[in-house]
Subunit: 380 residues, 5 copies
C-alpha cells in the first residue's frame, strides 16, 4: 500500500532521513524496494549454554535447521535491497504480510505488535557521526518467536549491537543461560543506551553555542541554533513512540516474555524516560538560546547606535559653530555683522566654546553610562 | 438546521475551503444545496470474485437490484449539486435524516457514527495541487452497509481512489475476495496515504524558505511563512479528528467490520499517527522559521547601521576639521586668530590630522569587527 | 449570595459584558436585580400536533393552566428587571432557590444541573452586531420539566429563536409532534448555530487585518489585532463550558430526555466542537498576525534606515570634500597651501571626484540590494 | 518539621507573602511561632434556631461546655502568635499533630483532609487593599466536627466573614436552622466570593494599562504589566488547589457533610471555576499586553527614526549644495572655476535648486506615508 | 549495562552534574566506578526505644549482627568509589543486581520500586552552596527492609540528615518508638524540605534581577537570567519524578510501610507539590524577566535614538543656514547675490532665524514628549 516513489529533497532528508511518500491506494502488504538500499547480508548466531555458532549465511532458508533446534537462534538481516530474499525470509519465518510491510517499507513509527506466536517490535536506532555533530538513524525491526529472534536493520553499517555479540561469544553475564526474550531485551537496551552518546554531543554543542551567543553572535550562530532545534525535534520523534512501545511490552505482558525479563525491561523503560527528559531539557535550552541570541543582537545594535550617537552629537554642534564663523557677512557694513571675527581673542574663544560643548556632552554621555565598554562579559 | 447562506470571503475560503454559516434554528435533517456545487455523478462498481461491473448510472434507483445481490456494491456519488437526487439517494439507502444532513451540508468534522445496520464515516481527503504548493480538500462520506458501500464526494475532480478502482478491476491483491468492509478500509487507507504527497510539498517549501530566510529575507518571505503556517493549521484540523474516528472504528468494534479488517485498520491508524507527527513537526519548523526571520531582519538592520555608523563617524569629524579652517577670523587683527592658515605646512598638516583621525577610527571599527562582511554564510 | 454592586468599567464591560462582583457572605439563593436590567416580558407558546397558542402574558401565574395540560408549554421570559415577577415565577415552576439564583444573578458559567424532576441548562447566546464587528452576548437559562420548557433571557432584544418559533407556528418538520425535550434541543441547537455568523465576521476581519498588516501596518492595526484576540477569548470562554454541559446532557442521560432527542443532541455536540475548532483556529491566526505585525514593523524600520543610510553616506563625504575647499589656507604663503584652488581645472576636477564618490557608493548600495523598492508585495 | 527561620526578602514577600523556609529534618507535628505573628484572639459564636451567643473568650478551654451542647459552635481563632494557646487549642479539639502543624506553619497549600471524625479544609482568603491595586492574602483553616466548626485565621484584620456573622445574628436565611456543615459551606462561599472584588480591581488596572500602552508607553508601564502578571500568578496559585479541595469535598463525600449542603457546595464549586476562568483570562490579557507594549515601543522608535530621516535627508543634501558654493576656487585663474559665483542670477538659482531638492524629497516622503502623524489613535 | 566513560563538558556538568554516557550493550547489573568518586564511608545507627548506637564501620559485613536484631538499623553509605565494598554491600543486604546498578551508576531518575521484601526509593537531594547562588545535587538511594534502612549517598559532604540523626540520638519526637519505615519517611521529608532553602536563594536572585533589569540592564543581566532558567530547569527535573515516586509509595501501599507512616507521607507529598509550585512560579517569573529585558533594551535604544534625533535635527538645519551664508557668491556682480551679507542687521537676523528654528524644533520635541528623562523609574 506504500510505494517508495522518491526520497524527500536534500535538507529534509537530513531530518526525516528516509521518509518516502506513499502512492495512495496500493495493495496492503506489498513491499517496495528502494533502489539505493544496500543488498541484505544475513548473519546467524545460534547459542545455548555450551555451544556457539556465528556465521554469515547466503539464503534465508539456511537458518531453518537452526530454528528447529532448542538453542536460541538470532538471525540478523542487514540491508533491505532485495525483494526476493526479503520475501523468502517472510516465508521462512511465516511473517504476516503486514509485518513484512512494516519491516521493509521504512520508516515505520516505533511500536509493539502482538501476533499470537510472534511479537513485532519496531525500534529506531541512532549512532553518532564520528567527526561532526549529528547522527545516523535507522530502523531496526525485532521479531521475537519461541526460541528465535529475527532482527532486520536498514543498513549494514553503524549498529550498536557489537557489545551484545561479544557478550554472547565470550559468555559474559547470564545471556547464554537465558532465552530469546532476554536477547531481545539486551538488544533493545543497547538501542536505548545508544541515544546517550548522541545526546552528549548535543550537550557539548549547546555549550559551545552558549559561549558563542554571548561573546560573538553571528548569523551563522542563529543557523546553528535552528539546526540543533531541528535535530532535537528528530530525536524526540524517535524516542517518544519507543517509550510507549516498551511500556506496552511491559503492561500487556505477551506470553513470549518471561516474568524475569519483564523486570529488566522496566529498567530499560526507566532509561527511555531519562533520554526523553534529556531531549526535552536540551530543547528548552536551545529555545532559550534563541531568546538570548535575539537579545544579544539587540545589545550589539545598541553598541553601534551608542558610537554613532556619541560621535554625531559631539561633532554636529561643533561643525555648526565652525559653520557660523565661516559665514561671509560683511563686517564693514555694520558693527553687528560678526564682530567676533575681528576680536583679538576671537579664535581662541571660539575653540574654548567648542571644547566646552564637547566636554559637556561627553560628561552627559558618561553620566548615562554610554562610554563604558559593555562588551567585556565574564562567564561565571 | 444548516442553511448555506454564502461562502466565506476569498482568503478565508482558502483556509476553510467550504465553511458556511448556519442560519440558527432551522429544521434538523434539512439539506441545503450550494448554488456552486457541481451536479452529482453516480458510479456503480459491483464485484465478487468472478464478476466485475463498472458503470455510470443516471438515477440512484438504478442501483437497487445490485444492492439486493450478494456481491459487493460500491456506489460512488461525486458532487452535491442536486437536492432531488440526494433525497432519492437517502431513500434508496434508507439513510437517517441526520446522516443525509452530515453528508450534504459540508463541511462536517470527521467522525464515526454507528446506526445499527449502517456505519457512517466522515473523512476529509486532500489532493496536492499540480503547480503551486497547496492542496484541494474535500469531504468524503462513507456509508458502510451489509454488502454495499456508499461514498459521497463533494466534487467529481481530484480523488485518490483511482488505484483502488484499478485493484478491483485487475483483481490485484485480495480485494475481490473480501467484503464491503475491506473496501471501506482500502478507501480510508488511500485517503490517509493521500496526505503524504501533500506533506512532502510542504517539506520542500519549508526547505526553500529556510534557504531564503537566511540568505535573503524579504517581506514576501514573511508572508510565505505565515501562509504555510495557516495551511498546516488546516491540515492539522483535517487529520486530528480523523485519528479519533479511526480509533473509535477499531475500539468500538461495530458488527459490520470483521476481525481481519480490524487488523488492517490498525495499520491505517499507525499511518494516521505518522501524518499527525509530520504535521506537528512541520508546524514546529515553520514557527521556528518565524523566529529566524525576525533575527535575520535584525541582523540586516545591524548591517545597515554599521555602514551608516562607519561612514558617519569617520566623515563628521573630518568635516568639522574642514569647517574650522573655513572660518573667517581676521588673521590680521591678532596673532592668535587662526595662525595655521598662514603656516607654510598648514594645508598638508591639516590633511595629516584628518587622515590620522580617519585611520584611527577605521582601526577602532576593525577592532570591533564592524568591517568584516558578515553576509557570507556557508550552509553545512 | 451574590449582590450586584456595580458593573465593571467600560472596556472590560465589553469583554465580560455583565460580570458583577459579589459581596462575599450573602445568603445563598438571594436574587439581586440590576437597576439597568429591562423589566421582564413573558411569552407563552403552547402547542401540540393540532393546536397552537402564542401570546404575551402579564403575570407568571397565567401560565399555570397551560402547565397542567398535556400539550407542550414554552414560557419565554425576556428581561431580569423585576424581583417580584421573578420570585413568583420561581413559585409557579417550583424552582430550587439556587436555580433561581443561577438564572437571575447573571453571568453564570454554562452548565447542566439535574434536579430530580427538572433539568437546568445555563447557556450563553451570541448575536452578531449589525454594523461593526462584535457581538451581543447574553445568558439563556433553560429549565426543562415534564411537558414544559421555561427559558429566561437577559434582554428582550437579540435572540436567535425566531426560526424555531416560526417552525412551531407553521408546523415545519417534526417539532409539533415531539415533546418539550425536543423543543429544548431545538433551542440549544439554535444557540450553538448562532455562533457561526459571529465567527464568520471574525474570519472576515482577520482577513482584512492580514491585508493591512502586510501592506500598511499602523498602530491602529496593532490595536485591532489585540481587540480581536480579546473578543475571541470571550467567545472561547462562552463555548468551552457549553461543550461540557451538552456532553453531560448526553452521557448522564437524565430521564427527561428521550433516546431519540439524545441522537439529535449528539449532532448538536458535533457543532459545538466545530465552533470550538474554529475559535481555536482564529485565535492561532490572530496570534500569528501579532508576529507578522512585529516583523512588518521591523521591515518598515529597515526601509527607513536604508533611506537614511543611503542619503547620509552619499552626501556626508561630498560635504566633506566641499568643506575642504572652503578652507581659507593662505595660498600665497606656501605652494603647498591648497594649490588646487588655483588650478585651471580645479573646480571640474573637484566635481569629478565628488561624482566618482557618489556613484561608487550607489554601486555599493545597489550590490547590497538596498536600492530596490521592497514595498511592492504581490499576494498569491 | 518546618521551622520559620526568616521571611523571604521584600519583593518576593509580596508574591509569596509568608513563604518561609524549612529547616530540613525537624520533628513532624512541631509548630513554630513567627515572632511577628499577632497574638491569637478567640471568638465564640454558639447558636441554634432560638439562641445566639457571640463573645470573645480568653482561653480555648472556655469553649468546652459549648462543644458538648447540641447547638452549633463556631470557634474563630484570629492570629498565630502564641504557642501555648495553640497547643491547648489542639488539646481541646483533639487535633492530630499534623493538623495542628498545617494550621500553624503557614502557608500550607489549600487542601481537604479527612480525619475520621474531623474534616480539615485549608483555604486561602484574599481581601482587596483599599487604596492601591493589590490584596492581602491569608490562610484560613476550617476544622469541621460533629456540631462545631473551628476556624483559624492568620491575622485578626481583613476577613470576609462579617456578612455571615450578621446572617447568624439576624437569623437571615436558613443558616440558624442548619448544622455546622452548612456554616462551613457559608464561610467557604464567602472566601471564594471574596476573590471577585480583587479580580475586578485587576480588570480595571488592565484596562488602564491598555489605554496607557497604546497612547503613551513608558518603562513604568512595562513594570506595571510585569507586576500585574506576578500578582495574577499569585492569585492563580491560591485558587487552583482550592478548586481541587472543594471538588474532593463533593466527590469523596465525607459523612460530616449532609446531602443538602453538598448541593450548595456544587454551587460554590461553580464559582471557584468562574474565578479560575477570570484569572486565566486576565493572565492572557496581561501577556497580550506585553506583546502590544513591545510593538508600541517599536512603533515609537519608527516615529523617531522617521523624524530623523526626514530632517537629515532633506538638509544634508542642501548643506552639501551650500558647501559647494563655499569653496574658494580661484575664479580668476580659469573660466571653469565656479563661474556660478559671478552669475547675475547665481544666488537665486542656487536657492531654486535647493528648494527643488527639498520639495522633491518631501514629496518622496509623503508618497511613502512618512509625513502623516500616526500617533493619533481613536479607540472604538 | 552502563559504563561511565567520561563526564560531560564543564558547563553542562553544572546542569546535569553527573550525567555519564552509556556504552550501549553492556551486561545489565554491572556496576561501574567513577575514578573521581570518593571512597565509601559507612555509618551505622542502631536504635530502639532504650538503646542507641552510632558508629563508623569499616566493612559492610560488620552490620550483619545488627540486622538480625529486632532494633532498627540504619546503614548510611557515603561515597561510591570502591567496587569491592559496594559488591559486598549488595551481598550483605541481598540486593537484586538491578538495584545495585541503580544505586551505583548515578544518576538514576527518582523512582520507587518494590522488590517483595525490599523497597527501593531513588531520591535526589539538593544542598544550597554557601557563597554563591547555586546548589549541590546528589543521588540518595533508600532501601527499606523489615527492620533496617540502607541509604547510599554519592558523596560524604553536604547531606541534610543531621537534624534526623540528632532527633534519634536525643530521642526527640516519636522517632525512637517507630520502625524503619518511619525513619525512611523522616529522611525523605528532610530531602524534600531541603529544596526550600535552595528555592529561597533563587527567589532572592530573581528579585535582584528584577531590580537590575529595570534600572540598568547589561548583557551580564541577560546571561544571569539564562543561567537561572537553566538551574530552575534542573531543579524541576529533580522534583517532578520525586512527586510521582512518593505518590506511588502512598497509593501502591507496599507492605513495608505502615498505615500511620502513610499519613505522614501524605504530608510529605503536600510539601513536594508545594516545591513544584514554587519552581514553576519562579520559572514563569524568570521567563517573564526575559521579556522585560528585551523591552528594557528596546527602551534604552529609544533613549539613544531620541538624543541622536534631537541633537541632529536641531543642528543640521542650523548648519545649513550657516552654510548658506558661507557661500561665496559675488555680491558685486548682482544685487540678487546674497544681499543679506551686506545688510546692517544681517548677522543678528541670521541668528534670529537660527534660534527660531532651534526653539521651534525644541517645542516640537517637547510636545512629542522626547525631552522628558524617562530613565527615572520609581518602584512601588
Amino acid at each position: 500500500m506504500i510505494r517508495k516513489l522518491r526520497r524527500l529533497p536534500k535538507i529534509i532528508t537530513k531530518v526525516y532521513e528516509d521518509e518516502f511518500y506513499h502512492q495512495p491506494g496500493t495493495v496492503p502488504g506489498t513491499i517496495f524496494i528502494d533502489a539505493d538500499a544496500p543488498p541484505p547480508i544475513i548473519f546467524l548466531i545460534d547459542y545455548n549454554q555450551t555451544n556457539f555458532i556465528h556465521e554469515q549465511i547466503a539464503t534465508p532458508e539456511e537458518c531453518v535447521p537452526y530454528l528447529e533446534m532448542e538453542s536460541v537462534s538470532w538471525v540478523d538481516v542487514q540491508g533491505l535491497g532485495c525483494q526476493d530474499i526479503l520475501q523468502r525470509l517472510g516465508n521462512v519465518f511465516e511473517l504476516h504480510p503486514l509485518v513484512l510491510e512494516d519491516i521493509v517499507n521504512v520508516p515505520e513509527r516505533p511500536k509493539t505488535e502482538d501476533y499470537e506466536d510472534q511479537l513485532l517490535f519496531i525500534a529506531r536506532m541512532v549512532v553518532p557521526k564520528e567527526r561532526t555533530c549529528g547522527f545516523y538513524s535507522e530502523q531496526v525491526s525485532l521479531i521475537l518467536g519461541k526460541n528465535y529472534l529475527l532482527t532486520v536493520q536498514e543498513e549494514p553499517e553503524h549498529d550498536c549491537f557489537e557489545e551484545v555479540r561479544s557478550r554472547i561469544e565470550k559468555n559474559k553475564g547470564t545471556i547464554r543461560k537465558q532465552g530469546a526474550d532476554y536477547l531481545a531485551y539486551a538488544l533493545l537496551d543497547a538501542i536505548i543506551d545508544g541515544f546517550f552518546p548522541v545526546l552528549e554531543l548535543y550537550g557539548e554543542r549547546i555549550e559551545e553555542l552558549e559561549e558563542e551567543v554571548i561573546v560573538k553572535p553571528t548569523p551563522q550562530t542563529l543557523q546553528n541554533i535552528y539546526q540543533i532545534r531541528r535535530e532535537l525535534l528528530q530525536l524526540r520523534r524517535a524516542i517518544w513512540p519507543q517509550r510507549d512501545a516498551i511500556n506496552s511490552l511491559i503492561r500487556d505482558a505477551p506470553d513470549l516474555i518471561s516474568e524475569e525479563v519483564r523486570i529488566y525491561l522496566r529498567d530499560c523503560y526507566d532509561h527511555t524516560v531519562q533520554v526523553m527528559d534529556m531531549v526535552e531539557t536540551y530543547r528548552e535550552l536551545a529555545s532559550g538560546l534563541m531568546d538570548v541570541y535575539l537579545s544579544a543582537v539587540s545589545n550589539k545594535m545598541n553598541e553601534i547606535m551608542k558610537v554613532l550617537t556619541v560621535v554625531s552629537t559631539i561633532f554636529i554642534p561643533l561643525t555648526f559653530v565652525a559653520g557660523i564663523y565661516g559665514m561671509n557677512f560683511n563686517t564693514e557694513k555694520s558693527p553687528y555683522n560678526m564682530p567676533e571675527l575681528n576680536w583679538y581673542w576671537g579664535y581662541p574663544l571660539c575653540w574654548a566654546v567648542m571644547l566646552a560643548i564637547a566636554f559637556g556632552l561627553l560628561f552627559f554621555f558618561w553620566r548615562r553610562g554610554w562610554l563604558q565598554n559593555s562588551v567585556v562579559i565574564k562567564r561565571n
